[in-house]
C-alpha cells in the first residue's frame, strides 16, 4: 500500500502509478482470483478489466468525496457498502449489455466485491486524497489491472484456441493447447509472465545478488 510519500506526485504520475510501477497483477499480486479465473480469452479479460475498473473508479470517487464525514469506526463498513453497491450496479449493466459475457464471467462479477485492489485503494488512497487524484489513481490502477488481465487472456487464448479476440490466427489445422484454457494454464501463464519480468529486471539491473537467496527453512 502506498502511503503518501514525502514529495507529492504529479497528476500524471498518479495515473501512471498503477499501470507499471504498482501494477496490481504483476507487481502487487492483488486480485489474483478473477485474474486467473476469467482470463481464458482476451474478450473476457477485457470485460473483467473494464467492470473492475468501473467499480474501482466509482467507489474510490465516492469514498474520496465523503472521506471527511466518515468516522473511523464505520470506515470499512462504509467502504464495503459502497463497493458492493457498485458491484451490483455493474452486475446489472453487464447483463444488459451482453448475456454471453455475463455467463462467461459468472460468479466472478459479484466476487469483484472482495477484490483486494478495490478495498485496498479505497482504504489506502481514496480516503486520503481529493476526488480528482483518487479518480486518476483508480483509473491508472484499472488500466494496470486490465493490461495484466489482457496479457494473460491473450496468451491463453492464442495458445489455447489459436485465436485472439475470437479471430482465428493460425487456420483450422492449428492444434490448440487445451491446458491453457484450464486452471493449470492460468497458473502457468501468470507464472511465466512473472518469470519473464524477473529475468528482465535482473538483466536490466545486474545486481550483485547472484548468490541464491538465503531462504529460512522452517522444518
Amino acid at each position: 500500500m502506498s502511503l503518501p510519500g514525502p514529495k507529492p506526485r504529479s497528476n500524471l504520475e498518479e495515473l501512471l502509478e498503477g499501470i507499471w510501477k504498482q501494477n496490481p497483477v504483476f507487481i502487487m499480486m492483488l486480485g489474483m482470483c478473477p485474474t486467473l479465473a476469467v482470463s481464458v480469452s482476451a474478450v473476457n479479460a477485457l470485460s473483467m478489466g473494464l467492470a473492475t475498473g468501473f467499480v474501482l473508479s466509482g467507489s474510490t470517487l465516492l469514498v474520496s468525496l465523503i472521506r471527511n464525514i466518515v468516522p473511523r469506526e464505520v470506515r470499512i463498513a462504509t467502504y464495503i457498502l459502497i463497493i458492493a453497491t457498485f458491484v451490483t450496479v455493474v452486475d446489472y449493466l453487464i447483463q444488459a449489455i451482453s448475456l454471453a459475457i455475463y455467463e462467461a464471467l459468472g460468479a466472478f462479477i459479484q466476487l469483484i466485491v472482495v477484490n483486494c485492489i478495490i478495498l485496498g485503494r479505497a482504504e489506502a488512497h481514496a480516503a486520503r486524497n481529493p476526488p480528482l487524484r483518487a479518480l486518476l489513481n483508480a483509473l491508472g490502477m484499472s488500466m494496470g489491472f486490465t493490461i495484466g488481465l489482457l496479457a494473460l487472456g491473450a496468451v491463453r487464448e492464442i495458445l489455447g484456441a489459436g485465436k485472439l479476440f475470437g479471430i482465428s490466427l493460425f487456420g483450422p489445422d492449428f492444434q490448440p493447447w487445451v491446458v491453457m484454457m484450464l486452471p493449470p494454464g492460468g497458473f502457468f501463464v501468470l507464472g511465466a509472465w512473472l518469470l519473464f519480468f524477473n529475468w528482465f529486471n535482473r538483466r536490466k539491473t545486474p545486481v550483485a545478488s547472484d548468490k541464491p537467496a538465503q531462504g529460512h527453512a522452517h522444518v
Partner: protein, 453 residues
C-alpha cells in the same frame, strides 16, 4: 553364544548386531601376520598430552639420562596420565613439536642410545592379587594407560566405579570394525592370556559381575582363542557379533551384546555398563604384574602404499617416517596417509609427527589406490535414502545435509538431533552424490557449540 556356539561360524547372520550400519570391504590382509617389533628410531618425540584430559607435567630436564620404563612426566590431576620413557636415552629438549593433529604441543624429545635394548630398566613386579580395587585403579593410573582403540581416554578413570551407581557388566570391545586395522585382532590372538588377566583386574576394580567380550564374526579365530582361555568361573564370556561398521562404537556394541539402548545424552555407566577396548585390557594384563608403564603399542601399518604391511610393536614417540621407512613405504609417491582407520581416522600432512598412545593404525594410499581417486564430484542430494538406511543412530542425514547446505544449523540441532551423531561417517561412505555429510555435521556441531557458549 546360544545353544550351539560351534555352529555360529556357519550362520553369521544369526549373530547379534545393531540396526543399520554398513559393510565396507575390510582389507584386513595383515590379520594373519604375527606382530613384529620395530627397532628404535634415533630420536623419539613424546608429546605431553597423548590422552584426553590435562597435559602431563614433565619430571625430567634437558640433558638428563633416562632408562626404558622410567616415568618422565607425571599426571596433573585425575584426568591426566603419566608418561614413561620408551627407551634408554637422553632428554634433548622439552619444547613444542608438531603433532598429528596439526598443532604444536609441548613434547619431551629423547635421543635414543644406540645400545638401548628392549629390557625395562624401571618398575617392580607387584602382587596384583593383594591389591584393593582402589589399588588396581592406582596401578593402572601409574602405568599411564589410556584407551588404545583410538580415543585415548585415561583408563583409570574408566575402571573407577561411577558415583551414580553400580556397574554390573564390563563390555570388552574386540570388534575392530574399521577396515584395514588388525592390531586388536593380533593382540587377541597373541596376548590372549594378558587379555583375560586384564579383564580380571578391570572387573575387580569396577566391582562388576561379568564381562562380555564382543568380537566381530570375521575374527572367528580370535573368538576361538579367547574361548579356550576363558576362566572356569563363567564370569567372562565371549560372543561373536556380526561384522558390520560401526559395530565397535560403544552404543552399538552395547545394543548388540546386551540389547540396551543408551538414552541420548546419557553415559553407558548410568546403565551399569562400562566399555573397554581389548587392546587396553590386554596391555593392562601385560604391564601391571610387572609394574611397567606404557611405552609401546601395536600399530597396524598397511595400505596399498606399504611394501611390508603388518602389525608392529612401535615405541611411543617413534616418528611416522621411521615407521614407514621400516615397513617399506616409498614416501614420495604416497598420496594420503591416515592415522587410525579409514572411516574415522585422520589424514596427516607431515611424516615428522610421532606415534602416540592413541594411534592404532597408519594407512598409506598411493597414487593408484587413493580412494579419493574415484569421481568425487559433489552432486545434489537425490534423496535416495541410503544414508537413512545406514545411519546407526537412526538420524536423517539427507535432511541434515540439505539444512547444512543452507546454514540452518539450529533446525539441525533441535529438530533433527544432530547432537546424537557420533561422526562414524557411514552416511558419507554410502552417499552416491559424494556429499561430505559427516564433514558438514562436524562444522555444524562446532558452530552450534559456539552459539551455545
Amino acid at each position: 553364544m546360544g545353544l550351539f556356539p560351534f555352529c555360529m561360524p556357519y550362520f553369521p547372520f544369526l549373530n547379534k548386531t545393531f540396526p543399520r550400519g554398513i559393510h565396507p570391504a575390510d582389507n584386513k590382509s595383515t590379520a594373519t601376520i604375527p606382530i613384529r617389533r620395530l627397532p628404535f628410531a634415533t630420536q623419539l618425540t613424546l608429546p605431553l598430552n597423548q590422552h584426553i584430559g590435562k597435559q602431563a607435567l614433565p619430571m625430567v630436564q634437558p640433558g638428563q639420562e633416562v632408562v626404558r620404563g622410567q616415568p618422565i612426566a607425571r599426571a596433573d590431576g585425575f584426568m591426566s596420565v603419566p608418561l614413561h620413557a620408551p627407551a634408554d636415552g637422553v632428554v634433548e629438549a622439552i619444547e613444542p613439536r608438531p603433532t598429528a593433529q596439526g598443532t604444536w604441543m609441548d613434547s619431551i624429545v629423547l635421543r635414543v642410545f644406540d645400545a638401548s635394548t628392549q629390557e625395562y630398566g624401571w618398575g617392580e613386579p607387584q602382587d596384583m592379587d593383594g591389591l584393593t580395587p582402589e589399588g588396581i585403579v592406582r596401578a593402572v593410573w601409574d602405568a599411564g594407560l589410556v584407551g588404545l582403540g583410538g580415543a585415548a581416554f585415561p583408563s583409570h578413570v574408566k575402571i573407577t566405579p561411577p558415583k551414580e551407581g553400580r556397574v554390573h557388566t564390563l563390555v570388552v570391545n574386540g570388534c575392530e570394525c574399521e577396515p584395514y586395522l588388525t592390531c586388536d585382532h593380533r593382540l587377541m590372538l597373541e596376548l590372549t592370556d594378558d587379555l583375560i588377566t586384564g579383564i580380571g583386574y578391570a572387573l575387580r576394580a569396577l566391582g562388576a559381575e561379568r564381562a562380555v567380550i564382543g568380537v566381530e564374526d570375521n575374527k572367528q579365530d580370535a573368538v576361538e582363542a579367547i574361548r579356550r582361555k576363558l576362566p572356569e568361573n563363567g564370569l567372562i564370556d565371549v560372543q561373536a557379533v556380526r561384522t558390520k561398521y560401526p559395530q565397535g562404537a560403544e552404543k552399538m556394541l552395547i545394543h548388540s551384546l546386551l540389547g540396551l539402548d543408551v538414552p541420548t545424552g546419557k553415559r553407558a555407566s548410568e546403565l551399569g555398563v562400562v566399555v573397554n577396548n581389548v587392546g587396553t585390557l590386554a596391555m593392562m594384563g601385560r604391564l601391571l604384574p610387572q609394574g611397567h608403564g606404557l611405552t609401546e603399542r601395536v600399530v597396524t601399518v598397511t595400505g596399498p602404499g606399504i611394501a611390508r604391511p603388518g602389525d608392529y610393536w612401535v615405541p611411543l614417540g617413534t616418528p611416522m617416517r621411521h615407521v614407514l621407512d621400516w615397513a617399506g613405504a616409498p614416501g614420495v609417491s604416497a598420496r594420503e596417509i591416515i592415522l587410525g582407520g579409514p572411516m574415522m581416522g585422520q589424514a596427516v600432512a607431515s611424516l615428522d609427527v610421532p606415534v602416540t598412545k592413541g594411534v592404532s593404525g597408519i594407512l598409506v594410499f598411493d597414487d593408484r589406490h587413493i580412494p579419493s581417486g574415484q569421481d568425487r564430484r559433489v552432486r545434489p542430494c537425490i534423496k535416495c535414502g541410503e544414508c537413512l538406511r545406514v545411519c546407526p543412530m537412526g538420524l536423517n542425514p539427507s535432511m541434515l545435509g540439505m539444512l547444512a547446505a543452507k546454514a540452518e544449523y539450529d533446525a539441525m540441532g533441535s529438530t533433527f538431533h544432530l547432537g546424537d551423531c557420533f561422526e562414524c561417517g557411514s552416511c558419507t561412505y554410502v552417499c552416491p552424490s559424494n556429499i561430505p555429510l559427516v564433514q558438514q555435521f562436524r562444522v555444524a556441531k562446532a558452530i552450534l557449540r559456539e552459539r551455545a557458549a
